[in-house]
């Protein structure tokens, strides 16, 4: 079916971009946290 590629592509784009964004956020915060003591984080 010719539509299948488009439909699957839309789901892949959706969840891949959300996954990449989440991964980037976690990685950036991990590198930022290297110089900050865990007890200084307001949420922990």
């Amino acid at each position: 079916m010719k539509d299948a590629g488009f439909i699957i592509a839309s789901y892949v784009v959706t969840f891949a971009s959300i996954g990449l964004f989440s991964f980037a956020v976690l990685r950036r915060s991990r590198s930022a946290a290297r110089d900050i003591r865990p007890e200084d984080r307001p949420w922990s």
Partner: protein, 248 residues
């Protein structure tokens, strides 16, 4: 060393961890229902499945931009002024841009299959593109530099102006003759949608909301860490010079 850092879930708490697990389960559920369980549409055929990602993406983008505006108002209001509100605004706008982008791409794929074109300068599509670009501009303005409060003030004012575009986007399909269909569920008392399709659409909205909350918590905390680094950066530089000069 690296493994210890990796195991330290910097911006995570038991709550976000639990939320993350529920969200992933929800995504799996949504994909199974969206791609396999729901029926094909009489007119659109299988293409209707794109809607379960496209519509929640658009709605959550609106929600994210509204949260940005509300947090910006909280920052500007003297009694609640706090950089936490500013960071929530910034984090929410980033996620909103992400969701709006998803909605534009999935909508474009859907448009190619149903309308026969990826893009057209129709009222809804044009206003949505403008909204998307506005919030990319908002994010750029946030990063122009200055103190945290300077950043917070200028971006808060911009956020309160930008949110005014949302009603224009939403009602564009009713104001003008538009290729885009009118709202199928929101503001429509007579919903003409198959039960399982409607259920899956709402499931999509719930799953996207969970993703939004999870990303917002993490991103907001990451921004807090970055701000703390900026604040301590000068202290640490001075401390290094003091050590160098032998001053205690």
């Amino acid at each position: 060393m690296t493994t210890r850092v990796a195991r330290d879930r910097v911006t995570g708490t038991p709550f976000t961890r639990g939320l993350g697990i529920v969200t992933i389960a929800g995504i799996v559920w949504l994909v199974i229902f969206g791609l396999f369980v729901t029926p094909a549409d009489v007119n659109q055929g299988e293409t209707v499945r794109i809607m379960y990602a496209h519509v929640p993406g658009a709605w959550l983008a609106y929600l994210a931009f509204i949260v940005t505006a509300l947090s910006s108002a909280m920052y500007l209001w003297r009694r609640t002024r706090s950089l936490t509100w500013d960071r929530i605004a910034g984090a929410s706008a980033e996620i909103g841009v992400l969701f709006m982008g998803i909605s534009l791409v999935t909508g474009s794929l859907w448009g190619r299959l149903t309308w026969g074109t990826f893009w057209t300068w129709d009222a809804r599509l044009t206003t949505t593109a403008f909204l998307f670009v506005t919030y990319i501009g908002y994010l750029a303005v946030r990063n122009l530099g200055g103190t945290h409060h300077q950043r917070a003030r200028r971006s808060a004012v911009l956020a309160l102006l930008a949110v005014l575009e949302i009603p224009l986007v939403h009602f564009s399909v009713e104001i003008w003759n538009s290729l885009h269909q009118e709202a199928s569920v929101a503001g429509n008392t007579d919903v003409t949608m198959d039960g399982l399709m409607l259920f899956t659409l709402f499931l999509g909205v719930i799953v996207f909301t969970l993703m939004y909350v999870w990303m917002l918590l993490h991103r907001q905390r990451a921004l807090t860490l970055e701000d703390m680094l900026d604040d301590t950066g000068l202290d640490r530089a001075l401390a290094a010079r003091r050590t160098e000069a032998g001053v205690s």
